[in-house]
Amino acid sequence: MTMLVEIVSGLFILLGVIALITGSLGLVKLPDLFSRTHAVGMMDTAGVGFIILGLIVYEGFTLVSVKLALVGIFLFFTSPIATHAVAQVALRSGVKPQLDDDGGKDGGS
């Protein structure tokens, strides 16, 4: 039973780690501020959600797992709000979205 719990929590943490690495790679490689907000949003919801879920599965039902659920719920609601606000303020203060492919000349490499 503990073997099964460790396997399931390890799978959840592995999924979260994959989402986290993919999001941070997108944060470096994507060419534009608004596409980078997409990468960070995926990192904040999928990565945090799966890793917190894996830790909750490993922990069982205790006070620490309730606190982990609080962290997960808080980040699940506030991180998309933060990235949306960053995109809104950037658009209002004059950052132009890159609408066409310009050969990846600014920051794409």
Binding site: E6, S9, G10, I13, L14, G16, V17, L20, I21, G23, S24, L25, L27, V28, L33, R36, T37, V40, M43, D44, G47, V48, I51, I52, L55, Y58, E59, V64, K67, L68, L70, V71, F74, L75, T78, S79, A82, T83, A85, V86, V89, A90, R92, S93, V95, D106, G107
Partner: protein, 118 residues
């Protein structure tokens, strides 16, 4: 151990976000990267607690989550309104509006752009 591997992956993600924070052309890229660094630090603290067998470190994760959210919005308010105090909910007037006001002499329309949404 899966927790140590997750901790190492959080470190890799933090370094990649730090690269974007150093290279970012606009301040908003840096702010986005700082937000991502905060997220990886939150996960790193929780995973570190489990890797060392002391899960009580989750309390520090809660604190970091709240501070990260409030810090991001404080910097955004500084960008948007030009100050951290009570700015009346008005957006910072653009340079074009200030120039137009200097010529036309009416200052009534400068602060109404985007008002009430910040």
């Amino acid at each position: 151990m899966i927790f140590a591997a997750g901790l190492a992956a959080c470190g890799v993600a933090l370094i990649l976000a730090l690269v974007r924070a150093m290279r970012g052309p606009t301040p908003f890229d840096r702010l986005l990267a700082v937000n991502a660094i905060g997220t990886t630090v939150i996960l790193g603290i929780a995973l570190h607690g489990y890797a060392l067998g002391r899960p009580e470190f989750v309390d520090i994760s809660i604190l970091y989550a709240v501070i990260n959210f409030i810090g991001t919005f404080a910097v955004l308010k500084l960008f948007n309104t030009g100050g951290l105090g009570d700015t009346g909910g008005r957006a910072k007037p653009d340079l074009d509006d200030i120039a137009a006001d200097g010529q036309a002499g009416n200052s009534g329309k400068a602060g109404t752009k985007g008002g009430g949404r910040s």
